[in-house]
Amino acid sequence: MQNAIVIGSGISGMACALRLAEAGVSVSLVSPFPSERSQSVMAAGGINAVLQDPVPGDSVTCHIEDTLKSGRGLSGREAVSGLCGRADEIISYLEKIGTVFSVDKTGAPVRRAFGGQSYRRTCYCGASTGKQIVSALVMEVRRYEAAGIIKRRMWSCFHSALIREGICYGVLLFDETTGGLEAEYADAVVIATGGQNALFGKTTGSTQCDGYTAGKLFMQGAELKNLEFIQYHPTTMETAQKRMLISEAARGEGGRLFYYEEAARSAGEGSAENLSSRKRVYFLEDEFGPRGNLMTRDIISRRIFTCGRDVYLDISFLDQRLIAERLPEVQDLCRKYKGIDVTREPIPVAPSVHFFMGGLAVHLDHETNIRNLFAVGECASMYHGANRLGGNSLLAAMYSGWVAAEEIAGRERPGARPDFTAMQEEETRLLLKKRESKSAFPVMYIRDMVAETMNKDLGISRDEEKLEKGIADVDYYLSIADKLSYDPNVMPYFNYSLTGILTLARAVLTCAKERKESRGAHFRSDYPEADERFAASSIISYQGGRYQVRLDKGHSYE
């Protein structure tokens, strides 16, 4: 193929664009903002790789097994083998383009231990791995921009894909500078738009990742997979602006989670004096023993949720120097946003939505069920199954970008392109028509309502009744969204994206309702055990307003 459009310029989008460019395929890299603003910069932990000189005992096979185990049988061995098998090559590449890894005396990347892994195999860049990788990729993309092979297109938002008879020929983009819709055609389109945080309002992630693109493509015929698997991070701190993630490293260094025993009724609730005199219950250590605080994210999140009390993370007993050296970002965040001195007082924490294992269903080469339409990074569902291993998301972002690019570069160009002028004119007319009707309804109000529904009815612990209520609520928002007129108070994007976001929310709830078992990150209080009959990925499709869920037992995708 000769040209491609990549939607999204985070790590996965850039990795894909670069590999395409190296193969001589020209790329249009589309995003409203530059790569520095992407959610990728927030990934702190690291990137897993079994290098040429692994820690004694470790091997690529072991990395594969750890990943499959964490995915609870839902991720395919072939896909995961590819991912882990090329991790070493990915680290070499990132070194080559100048990523500032944390290194030893010889200049080789050092590795650290991470949750759920048998050996020390997580490469990292201080406390800002994602940001450091973004910086290196931006420079490398710049080289190809200067050569004219990659063209960045800013201030442009995805509107819809140009699809005819199951083949994708390009996209319609909303241009914020002109306020109009523009068609862009290419031999292939790659979606790299990240997760769906905004469905849940304020999470640990970027406000830019709202799931609209996946929702819209779903409405246009693309299938989605494993949407019910959403990773909650157990230790996040509430602030006025968002939920701040308190790194797992805090527990890794010895941090303890606890709650206070019920106070006697006479004692004034909540006052600091009263709290400090109350007995602490280290509920994880009580249940799981001394290493209880190091249990996996899903288990801890569930325990915090079920205990029904305010939970705290205590690191104040750790050596002050150790805190300053190894947990500086935890210390900074707490001081800056909550005025908490972590060397003296515990941090109030609660679980929050953090990562989406599900997304667009893709084949091994990252093509969706629509020909020449690919998806990479967090918006695609492939390697993480029912639960993701820490340090595997950056790896999958890079790897999936490469896989899609290599497939596209090796393919024949598609045949003659059908005419999409009529569709573009119709969509433009609809957009303008909406803009003309100035009866303001608050789009943001509906976005808030859906976030409330999702948090309440699709939380850490789910059941049939809540999910059905959630579905009814979202169906109601959907029914009014179409009748609502334009909100001139917010950007056009927020207006036209509403239905796609709501449709995705409905799909997520539907998948969660259909999976009548508990597995990985999906926990049903009415079906608390894993059930072998559900040991397959769920695939959801959409046709004329109907949502159809099936279990992919025949492995049609991987």
């Binding site: 530059p34 603003r37 100048g98 910086s135 710049r142 602030t239 006025a240 968002k242 943001m444 108070n489």
Partner: protein, 231 residues
């Protein structure tokens, strides 16, 4: 508290001030404050007159993406880590960065930053460090490279700079830092990049170093300058 915001509906329309009442807790950041004003059924000014929601850019809301750079009480800063309690006076003034064209309200077009880096070929290409340096020095340089690669390209250093006008000739602190990153990580490019550095930074920087005061990542630009000047 009064919040006074310099607004502008579109790129080439007139800007105007609008004032809002906001009674918010001091531990709120300016980002949370703008959200507070925006996320109500209606948004009204101090006289109760209905107005449009305030346009601004945000992504991470925790100081690592650079989206929400703006000028708060005359100081260029990230809204997400500037707190109401640290502001003096009864009126909080917010306006967009002045050194970039306004798109809408507090949203500005900072693409000049990327354009300049592209035109001057600021990219590492292939990592080829200078192995002749001793361990202590390498370690120090590695630490500086790490800090510089954290640059958000938010533009605060350019906003405050007395020498940066519109990025046509003088490219500012973020450019100088990235030049160092390239020169120190690929010795083959050191000479070429030094020429660009001299032309677009070294020759015109008056060393006020105000860039370092406002940098959200606390990048020690002076260290990069020292290294570049040593060659």
């Amino acid at each position: 508290m009064k919040v006074k915001i310099l607004r502008q509906q579109a790129p080439f329309t007139e800007s105007y001030w609008e004032t809002f009442d906001a009674d918010v807790p001091g531990d709120m950041s300016v980002a949370a404050l703008i959200d507070y004003l925006n996320y109500r059924d209606d948004i009204v000014d101090e006289n109760g007159k209905k107005t449009t929601r305030i346009g601004w850019e945000c992504s991470c809301l925790q100081g690592v993406c650079g989206s929400c750079a703006m000028v708060i009480n005359d100081v260029p800063a990230l809204a997400c880590e500037t707190f109401v309690k640290d502001m003096s006076g009864d009126v909080l003034t917010i306006r967009p960065l002045r050194k970039f064209p306004v798109i809408h309200d507090l949203v500005v077009d900072r693409s000049q930053i990327q354009e300049n880096l592209k035109q001057t070929d600021v990219c590492i290409g292939e990592y080829q460090p200078d192995f002749s340096k001793d361990e202590k020095k390498s370690k120090k340089e590695h630490a500086l490279q790490y800090m510089i690669a954290k640059c958000l390209k938010c533009g605060l250093c350019l906003e405050v700079c007395p020498n940066y006008v519109n990025g046509k000739t003088f490219y500012g602190a973020l450019f100088a830092n990235d030049c160092y990153l390239v020169a120190s990580r690929n010795k083959e490019k050191a000479v070429g990049i030094s020429t660009q550095y001299a032309e677009h930074f070294g020759s015109a920087c008056s060393k006020s170093l105000s860039c370092m005061d406002v940098c959200p990542m606390k990048i020690p630009t002076i260290a990069a300058m020292a290294a570049m000047n040593r060659g």
